[in-house]
Amino acid sequence: MSELKKDIVRRPDMSVEIAGIKLRNPVMPASGTFGYGEEYTPFIDMEKIGAIVTKGLSLKPKAGNPTPRIAETVSGMLNAIGLQNVGIDAFIQHKMPFLRTVNTPVIANFFGNTLEEYGEVAKRLNDIPEIAAGELNISCPNVKQGGIVFGTDPKAASEVVALVRKNLQKPLIVKLTPNVTDITVVARAVEEAGADAIACINTLTGMSVDVNTRKPRIANMTGGLSGPAIRPVAVRMVHQVVQTVSVPVIGIGGIVKAMDALEFLIVGAKAVQVGTANFVDPTAMISIIEGIEEFLVAEGIDDIHDLIGSLKF
């Protein structure tokens, strides 16, 4: 092969490192939209994506909210699943055997109802060698503190991150809620408390009404808005957080195609998570990975790090 041809076929380096975990590329599913991975094996090769992120895990199994739990909205969807999950024990027993067979880092998203529970789940994750990192979800209600959400109060956020940091002997990603006035305050707080990376954003609180019945379209009244509708908000927040912290940031929110993912990378996200788009097209992540690669080739970029944070003001 001539020198020139070799040049043309050389593939850009897509690998990134997040909190010490090496990813073959920066694209992974968002928690809660990919089950425990196995659900999507008929449609995509798990060894082509950067990582697998599990549904949020709690100490005890959680049944979730009453139905209807989902409603489609303009370019988005509302969900109030209520963090239904099998619990950490059943996860280890029934879901890990599959995850162990896949040569892709597994990130366990987890949460607790109380501070103690957060700490306890973190400890349990230490016992699973194949879990590469924990992704702490701090946007669910803190029952003990009268319904305050951990993620909206910088002090509470910092407290839970510090506790989890102490208990978890693995890299810690902290996932932020967008339902705050200033996300940079919480981002700074969780970084100081020991987060190795930050993932943002989770869903935006929303509501939709059936005008015929005059009832909310989901039983929980309000739900989390996800999908393309939230992307501009997510890009803005990721940009703000990247400017604020020095740990890597994972961008999430409304990514459907490669161009969407590129927006997040350009504002400085080191990796991205794809959520609702998996429902729309189970092969979406693969198209996104291929599309990012094509973009790098077209732009003559050899290393994805030359694209990350390349925003021009």
Partner: protein, 285 residues
């Protein structure tokens, strides 16, 4: 199950507001059973954002044409136009590119061969019953179909059931076709006449609840196909759950209707809420 990027073979209006769509799907039929469904992507561009679930009406092969190529396999759905997604579907034509996931979910269990089989369909709820009737007839069962609708326009594909050798009974709310009244009245009469029966049903939630009550009264085994809103169709989002039997606030039990269902043996469901809300069942008649 597979994600098909494929094209439409035909899309025809068969009754006002009801369409039949044949979609090219090689290898689909091998794994498909009565009661399973597909997730159909209405168009490549958004919105609508989410795929829409549709029951499998039948699978088959187009007759080989003179090009010498092997016969083309298709999956066929029957749908009612109720909102934005199905309105777009109604505009699709032969050759248009579409995507579908399937076959998904657990269908009807038709392994029990004894006795009579009664299928109760309300409007678009007849869709999965056609494939079921075919499987039951193949098993050597005597099959009767009780079809209900608001008007004669809601009664679909009856001659096709008859061609399978199924005895059909029709009722409409307005009496414009068959008997005037509810399909459940017909069911009650049939159960009195044929007590050794198994019932299968699909249709609007209030009809399912009424069929359930009658089957409880006559101690008749019942399988129901439910229609819940779905986002993923594969068990990943947990958006489509229904309450399982024995569900309580303290010990909640939610079953994934896309993965455990959409067909359930009725005793495994908590019927306290089914059919009792005013949720409009737009997909049904």
């Amino acid at each position: 199950m597979k994600n098909y990027r494929t094209k439409i073979i035909s899309n025809q209006e068969i009754s006002p507001g009801y369409f039949r769509m044949k979609i090219l799907a090689p290898g689909f039929g091998e794994n498909a059973h009565a009661g399973q469904f597909i997730m159909f992507r209405v168009q490549r561009s958004l919105p609508p954002l989410l795929r829409r679930p549709f029951g499998i009406f039948r699978t088959g092969f187009l007759p080989a044409d003179c090009d010498g190529l092997p016969p083309k396999e298709f999956v066929e759905i029957v749908y009612k136009v109720v909102g934005s997604g199905t309105s777009i579907m109604a505009e699709l034509h032969e050759g248009d590119k579409v995507e579908l996931l399937g076959p998904l979910g657990n269908g009807f269990d038709c392994t029990s061969r004894k006795g009579e089989k009664i299928l109760v369909g309300g409007g678009i709820g007849l869709v999965p019953l056609y494939m079921l009737a075919g499987e039951l007839v193949d098993n050597g069962c005597k099959v009767r179909l009780l079809m209900g609708g608001r008007t004669r326009d809601d009664i679909l594909a009856v001659t096709e059931f008859e061609r399978l050798g199924v005895e059909t009974y029709i009722s409409t709310d307005d009496g414009s076709l068959g008997e005037a009244g509810l399909v459940t009245q017909v069911l009650e009469r049939k159960l009195q006449k044929y007590p050794e029966t198994e019932v299968f049903t699909c249709g609007p939630m209030p009809m399912l609840a009424a069929v359930h009550d009658i089957c409880v009264k006559y101690k008749t085994p019942l399988q129901v196909s439910l229609e819940e809103s779905m986002a993923c169709g594969v068990g990943a989002c947990l958006g489509c759950v229904v309450k399982g039997a024995g569900h309580t606030e303290e010990k909640p039990s939610y079953l994934c209707s896309c993965k455990v269902g959409p067909v359930f043996k009725s005793q495994y469901l908590d019927w306290s809420a089914i059919g009792k809300t005013d949720k409009d069942c737009g997909g049904c008649a």
